[in-house]
């Protein structure tokens, strides 16, 4: 990939709409959304339930084709499933016959990664996400939050240049979630990965991101883009106490309130 392209947007969503048709009804999930994500940028996406956030991530990964508009990823147009990414689905989607560790290593096997290296990294991630002791447990022997952490490890294993995450921490308790936030932020800083994170936690969206995209109720259009003006290295408690943090979360809360028809 050329240097020019490197400098261009990592993810470019250009005037994209998505309509789902079934026998019963037609649903427009996304309407003329445009969005550029710079290389190494961390973008959070928030919006009302059912507005089209998961749909947006699937578009970027090429798992779904837009009804109109184009998506560009790492310099080339997305025309089918892309694997130059890491994707955490909203559901854990684990293979029920593989242990936690082997579910994580699936990523390595599919990509033909060096297995010793992959194993080392898997163990690191298991350690980091607090799954030690459950490496050999089958998915049905894991709690909901543990399953989600396995899926997270799987998406991080190959150190993707672009990371798409669909509520990766939804099933975690508040404190584990904070730990994971801190870890994710560290990983992001250290690797320069481009991240698109769909989340329901406003605090999380602000703490982690450079920018927060607020989507409206379905059909989703971009309601507002909040630039997060926080230092690169963010201590969790200190960040929460900052006025920029408070103002950003308040603003998002307002926007979402409007979007969900509350207020």
């Amino acid at each position: 990939m050329s240097a020019t392209l490197e400098m261009a947007a990592s993810v470019a969503i250009d005037d994209v709409s998505v309509r789902f048709r079934s026998k019963r009804a037609e649903v427009t999930a996304i309407q003329q959304v445009s969005l550029d994500v710079a290389p190494g940028e961390f973008v959070s996406i928030v919006g009302p339930s059912g507005c089209g956030k998961s749909t947006l991530l699937k578009l970027v990964s090429g798992l779904l084709k837009p009804s109109s508009g184009t998506v560009t990823l790492l310099g080339s147009e997305v025309r089918g499933p892309r694997h130059d990414i890491g994707f955490v689905f909203q559901r854990a989607a684990l293979l029920e016959w593989r242990s936690a560790r082997r579910n994580i290593l699936l990523q390595a096997e599919m990509r033909g990664m060096n297995s010793a290296e992959a194993a080392r990294r898997a163990d690191e991630l298991i350690e980091m996400t607090g799954l030690s002791g459950f490496e050999n447990a089958l998915p049905h022997e894991l709690s909901g939050g543990m399953q989600q952490r396995v899926a997270l490890c799987r998406a991080l294993l190959h150190q993707p240049r672009v990371l798409l995450m669909d509520e990766p921490f939804g099933a975690l308790d508040a404190l584990t979630r904070e730990q994971m936030n801190v870890e994710l932020h560290r990983v992001w800083r250290e690797t320069g990965t481009t991240v698109l994170l769909v989340t329901h936690s406003i605090a999380e969206s602000v703490y982690l991101a450079n920018r927060v995209i607020v989507l409206t109720q379905r059909p989703a259009v971009v309601h507002e883009v909040i630039e997060v003006d926080l230092p690169g290295v963010r201590d969790y408690t200190a960040t929460m106490a900052r006025p920029e943090f408070a103002s950003a979360t308040a603003r998002i809360r307002d926007l979402l309130g409007a979007a969900t028809g509350q207020e």
């Binding site: 499933p81 689905f89 989607a93």
Partner: protein
């Protein structure tokens, strides 16, 4: 939770007493209906006579049993491998699916015994035509269940595989095929019993050995003890092969819900 079972003998006894009791009951009924003359000896021989013959002619039957077992296993293995391959081709290609389906169906529906003479003429009196008939009989259930299994895999898992970029081969090996295994085993279990029938039918049409030969000849002579002895041996072969598959399934798919299911059923049944 439930206690972990530590005594392997108790487990064996628990699992076997019911089939054993059933077997005993069957033998008792068989004895009674023949002893009381309810069913005549030219139709159904007494168990004593049948087992006596089995013991007497054991070495004779043994040789024929090997022949039939060999044909069955060969036919089953070929049908299994071919069936899975065809199913995979059908799932991955619309063209193959819509062209292969009618052929398969056709091959399946035709009564093998009606076309078996063709095989004899083409393939002679050796074991080949029997294996062909066994393959033809066993093939279809393998294809149907593998296709169903491969198509039943969770679409989200396939999406996941696509984002990992392993390509169709790895996706198949690591995700689709393991996910289809429970279906596949259901198909294989049906297939193995049909392979036995296929081998025997093949032997009916033209052969000088095998249990089909023994049975048909016994039928011609109205030698019912020999007929029943042959049927018993065939059943034992079929049941053993089936149990082997069942064991393989248990070893390969300890994760499958149909195995885990039992615990939950028991639990729920107590509610």
């Amino acid at each position: 939770m439930d206690k972990v079972r530590t005594d392997p003998w108790r487990g064996l006894v628990e699992r076997s007493w019911r089939p054993a009791a059933l077997l005993a009951a069957c033998l008792a009924v068989w004895h009674l209906i023949t002893a009381t003359g309810l069913v005549e000896a030219y139709l159904v021989p007494s168990p004593a006579k049948t087992f006596g013959l089995l013991a007497d002619k054991w070495s004779y039957l043994w040789g024929h049993t090997w022949v039939t077992t060999y044909e069955t296993v060969l036919g089953f293995v070929i049908a299994g491998v071919l069936g899975v391959l065809v199913a995979v081709a059908m799932v991955y290609s619309r063209t193959v699916e819509s062209t292969a389906y009618p052929i398969l169906l056709f091959a399946q529906v035709i009564p093998k015994i009606a076309i078996a003479p063709l095989f004899v003429v083409w393939l002679g009196f050796g074991f080949e035509p029997k294996v062909v008939v066994a393959v033809l009989m066993a093939f279809f259930p393998v294809v149907i269940s593998t296709v169903t299994g491969l198509k039943s895999v969770d679409t989200e898992m396939l999406e996941l595989a696509a984002t990992m970029g392993g390509g169709p081969v790895k996706t198949f090996v690591k995700i689709r095929f393991p996910a289809a295994l429970p279906h596949l085993f259901a198909g294989l279990k049906v297939a193995v019993t049909l392979a036995v029938t296929g081998a025997v039918v093949g032997e009916f049409v033209g052969s000088n050995e095998g249990l089909g030969y023994v049975i048909l000849q016994a039928n011609g002579n109205m030698d019912t003890p020999m007929l029943f002895a042959g049927l018993i041996v065939i059943s034992v072969v079929g049941v053993l092969l089936f149990l082997l598959l069942d064991l393989a399934e248990k070893l390969l798919l300890p994760w499958h819900a149909s195995r885990r299911g039992a615990a939950v059923t028991t639990l729920l049944a107590k509610g």
